[in-house]
């Protein structure tokens, strides 16, 4: 790609990343949330790879990092759900953190934390799939 495309892609991907974080964090008071925000976060990275070419990232190392985050977020969701067993008697259904004022950013107990974790999970999964495809194509063409 030419220099203009690469520079614009860099600027745009930063903006997409920030917008994705906004969508993830505000999931419990506005339309949005973990799934859509996660796909947006993944698309920021995918745009970078599409514009810059495969030499911009160290792909294999990146894939290890995304796999790690993917496993970590599932583990954290399970641990947070298991916290409900100690706070009450329900696994995963117990909203035990303080609820706060509805409509504020810090409200609704566990829901924003779950939302952020599932956002990391979806972003890591989609980026892992895309990286696996890219690495495969590179290895085949060698």
């Amino acid at each position: 790609m030419s220099v203009i495309v690469r520079k614009v892609a860099q600027l745009l991907s930063a903006m997409i990343f920030v917008f994705g974080m906004y969508v993830v964090i505000h999931g419990h008071i506005m339309p949005g949330g973990g799934f859509s925000g996660g796909v947006l976060l993944a698309s920021a990275f995918i745009l970078l790879i599409l514009a810059q070419g495969k030499d911009y990232f160290q792909l294999k190392q990146q894939r290890k990092i995304t796999s790690f985050y993917e496993s970590l977020s599932v583990l954290l969701i399970l641990l947070l759900g298991a916290g409900g067993l100690f706070a009450g008697s329900l696994f995963l259904f117990n909203n035990y953190l303080p609820k706060g004022q509805p409509g504020e950013l810090l409200s609704a107990g566990n829901i924003p934390i779950y939302s952020i974790l599932i956002g990391i999970k979806v972003a890591a999964t989609l980026f892992t799939i895309f990286l696996a495809l890219t690495i495969y194509k590179e290895e085949v063409s060698k």
């Binding site: 008071i29 506005m30 339309p31 799934f35 796909v39 509805p102 409509g103 979806v122 999964t125 989609l126 799939i129 696996a132 495809l133 495969y136 085949v140």
Partner: protein
Amino acid sequence: MTLYILCFILFLVGLYGLLISRNIIKIVISLTIVEISIFLLLIMVGYISDGIAPVVFDAQILENQAVVDPLPQTMVLTAIVIALATNSMILTMAIRLYKKYGTFDVHEISKLKG
């Protein structure tokens, strides 16, 4: 009622494509069409004519105002992401098949028998 029938026609078109096409990419596309028709049917069942979207900032509004059913929306929300994941899984299998046999055609692949 007309809308439900139109949804069903979309479902039938997807099923027709799923059964008659030989190309793996076409099969994935037909599967997506079937998924889309079912998402739309589920959301249509939960729609209320003068309801508002299920995002409300003030509990006072709810006293004399109908709300669209949030339950089918939740189910479809998870289903869309699962459909995305399964689609990409089938597509990765398709490129492995293409590398081994050099074609996307299902009949030819079963004739070649690796």
